[in-house]
Amino acid sequence: MSQITMKEAVSKAKLHLVELFSDDALRAVALEEIELRETQSRKVWAVTLGFQRQQKEKIAMPRVNWLRDQEDEKLTGRVYKTLLIDSETGNFLKMDIRQVS
């Protein structure tokens, strides 16, 4: 049985998201998906949040000769991140890019 509730996990994830993007005013933040994942050693709440960024999202492009050492920068529209929260301690573990099509 998890020690923090799903609601607490979502609340913590939102706080950490805002903190991690403190240099950027995030817009239209919404909870998109939540699941309780079981790893070998622990259970974690995987909280996926979607939002619009004010700043441009940097995308690392595949390295090909004529693009070597270049970096493309574009607006990606809505961004999705999954924040992992330890279900026992409530600690924030990490944030992953949530790949969507």
Binding site: S2, M6, K7, V10, A30, L31, E32, E33, I34, E35, L36, T48, Y80, R98, V100, S101
Partner: protein, 176 residues
Amino acid sequence: MNGGLDQQLEAYIRQYSHDGVLLDTNVLLLLLAHRFDPQLVGCKRLEKYDIEAAQLLMGCVGQFQRILTTASILTEVSNLAGQMLTGSKKQAFYTMLYAFFSAQIPNDVQHCSIHGIDLHIHQFVKLGYTDTTILAVAEKKPHFLLTDDLDLFLDAQQHNIPTINFTHMREAAQLI
């Protein structure tokens, strides 16, 4: 619920209440488990839900004349329920679920066949068989889809399938 989502849901109810609502596997499992035994909500495969979520779902589904489903959704529901339950409780749940598989299905349930529908390979590779059939069935008629699977929801949106993310409903109803 917030204004935009509320209005969107009301519009879908007006348009699709007679046709029905196509429920994704997790959402249908929540509905059936809550109907069978509300104490199952919040346990095992339903850890991410609570009673309030189940009640919100029941209230929404109650606006539609029937639940639409497919053989693959029911198979997944059956398999997941099998992982949740044991003994006599499992048998009792399967007895309830049998009605969905039998020739005399309840009046408020309708099977959607994928017979004759082409499945898109890129969806199959990305989402797997069940979600691909859900998209194919929902796109053809179209049917209103309620899901809390983000990939399925976004793909449905891309194909102009009428859909709502149940997680958005929960957040908008201030349940999360």
